[in-house]
Symmetry: C2
Subunit: 408 residues, 2 copies
């Protein structure tokens, strides 16, 4: 990260339509039941944008994921538009589902005026139900008509399922004296929602970014942000993050300015990712889990994810219990190098286990710290020098209630 970048990177209230040349819209077309909010979002670039995507690794991959991957391959990473519906995941829907996802792209392409392959598709909502294509056919023209550079907030609302709030972010950075802008929106929390699949993220920029650098930025930033969060350890059938760069700022990113660009993308993706955790079902606390002293970065991440998904850790956090024994027990079972005699557990600023012995006399201080809404837990594995950070939320009775009683 150059000094130059640090001085000029700034975040601001904005979203996918903040970068030059991008418009967006969010409409209600009737996929969701009436009164459940908007359900169709569009993002359109006024010129072909270079595009990159990262998609779910779930083998039960939804039809829109298959179609978007095929379109990115067919165009070598070029897109004019993204069409997204909420209220139906179009997953486990067989041949009809594939046809529907393709038709969403075809209809959008004809309205926007571009090849079908330059339209990317995403869906989120109930698994195993077919899309109401009559509603989408009837509503798409209105969604195109509503496109505007001030409609990012509507688009961010239209991709929500049971998210408690929309998630948008934007950043600008000066590259050789000219501002470029990065904007984004996201929804969902893993597979936390009842019968609802997906974390979706959409990032736009008016920088011109060569495809290899665009793909690299998306991969690197996603790994540190969207892939570093967990609510319940569930990976959905529909997850995707897409990044579109249309060059409208006139600034072209190259190797010398890559770091500044990637930092701006990170400045957008991190608050979106943390917003997903904050909006997790039943969540009352945002928890930063640091694992240090690991034998490798991969082992550090593995252990941090195991801690972040542990029901015993998450319930202890919910109850404000500085239960360091549970953190040690998870570290010991995570399948990574771990040396008990060199290990340490720190809750906020309070060391509770170190040099093979407990410091339970500090438990009251740690309990007091756990009353905060944003918490940091650090586990030192005593096995090396690598580290990793992931973010999670607590596990509350409300999570169980929401997920057990969805259909009742």
């Amino acid at each position: 990260m150059s000094t130059h970048t640090v001085q000029t990177l700034e975040t601001f209230a904005g979203g996918v339509a903040s970068p030059q040349g991008f418009t967006a819209s969010g409409q209600y077309v009737g996929i969701k039941a009436a009164g459940r909010g908007l359900d169709l979002a569009l993002i359109v670039s006024d010129r072909p944008a270079t595009a990159a995507g990262v998609f779910t690794t779930n083998k039960a991959q939804a039809a829109p994921v298959t179609v978007s991957k095929a379109h990115l391959a067919a165009t070598s990473g070029t897109a004019r538009a993204v069409v997204v519906n909420s209220g139906c995941a179009n997953a486990c829907t067989g041949a009809v589902g594939m046809q529907d996802a393709k038709e969403m792209a075809t209809l959008t392409a004809s309205l926007v005026g571009c090849p079908t392959e330059q339209v990317l598709v995403a869906s989120t909502g109930v698994i195993g139900v077919n899309l109401k294509m009559d509603k989408i056919r009837a509503g798409l023209a209105g969604a195109v008509a509503a496109l505007g550079s001030d409609q990012g907030p509507a688009a961010a609302k239209a991709i929500m399922t049971t998210d408690p709030f929309p998630k948008e972010a934007a950043a600008r950075v000066s590259i050789n004296g000219v501002n470029i802008t990065v904007g984004g929106m996201a929804k969902g929390s893993g597979m936390i929602e009842p019968m609802m699949a997906t974390m979706l993220g959409f990032i736009t920029t008016d920088a011109a970014v060569p495809r290899p650098l665009l793909a690299r930025a998306l991969r690197e930033v996603t790994d540190d942000t969207f892939n570093a969060i967990t609510v319940d350890g569930e990976c959905s059938t529909n997850d995707c993050v897409m990044l579109l760069a249309n060059g409208a700022s006139g600034v072209t990113i190259d190797a010398s300015t890559y770091d500044a660009f990637a930092d701006a993308v990170r400045a957008v993706c991190l608050p979106l990712a943390l917003g997903i955790v904050r909006g997790g079902e039943g969540a009352t606390k945002l928890v930063t889990v640091n694992v240090t002293g690991a034998a490798s970065a991969k082992e550090a991440r593995t252990c941090a994810k195991a801690i972040a998904n542990s029901p015993l850790v998450k319930t202890a956090i919910h109850g404000g219990d500085p239960n360091w024994g549970r953190l040690i027990a998870v570290a010991g079972r995570a399948g990574v190098a771990f040396e008990l005699e060199q290990a340490a557990v720190t809750i906020g600023p309070v060391v509770l286990f170190k040099d093979g012995r407990p410091y339970d006399e500090f438990a009251p201080e740690a309990a007091n710290y756990l009353k905060n809404d944003e918490l940091t837990l650090t586990v030192h594995l005593g096995a090396g020098t690598a580290s990793s950070t992931v973010w999670t939320c607590d596990l509350s009775a409300e999570y169980v209630k929401i997920n057990a009683e969805y259909r009742t």
Copy 2:
């Protein structure tokens, strides 16, 4: 499994002191707070028994685990007694903890009249707290004095932490016309209890069993029973299962009678394992998860465990929601071979997804089935012919309450 075995194997109400030559006791010595139940258990054989153990793979291994493993190694698998305390796990307790675990063995050995190395030690309870050795020193003689062949039930109670009920089982089988008996007791539910570590299992038999066959039986049966259950996916610092064979029946097991013996051990271990699941914190349902059509037995087990630990599956079961999409989503993310088009989901007798398409018209029938207390879920992966079965419980708000509010 021979026809002979099937005809003569019978289970009965009994426990660790049911096989000939074994006695047991359960006492209150003051490790737990008064009113929280018994806290010291002994199992003694009147002659040296061959012994085998399987222990936690957690790298934060408790002192009694280290000591018991060392004793089994030193004696090549010979034991006269097992001493167990509840209320304190003696885990993460450093050098003092090791000294305490060794002293428990030494004191027991002098009272029983055997070498220290012929005593196995186990502890369960709070992590990170030292044992009250004064209480153990003062109480052990009384525990030895209380030994009796009718005291298995007391021993089963003395190893409980917050288990809702004691878990005992016994079986007898005729080997060449002579009965041998297998008895056992178990406690705990993985790491489900607040600050409580451990599933412990103790199995005795009056058969004479050569060490290689004893170790094989313990390994094979544990894999199908104790290792096939999960409550919350947590592996504790203290888990162990020990099997002692003293030969008092006069029957020696060999290759030709191994299957009959292993079946008797299984007939004891399976109800103990299912008892642990039934007694899981907040559990209201016992769920059998079958995975079929897997590429290998290992992949079948991996997928079954992923389903059994999925918070979305477990909350859906709790709420009686036949949410087959969640089962497909877990199968797709479990890292095993999976073919959506050949996959199927069956809840009880009701097929809800097959041949790549939903059968949601049967959802009401499945919802009705889910009102039962004992349930079977079957996921066919469409990728081969291997299968696996695991057992789990539902995830209720009560689990969160118990684990969040332990210290409040």
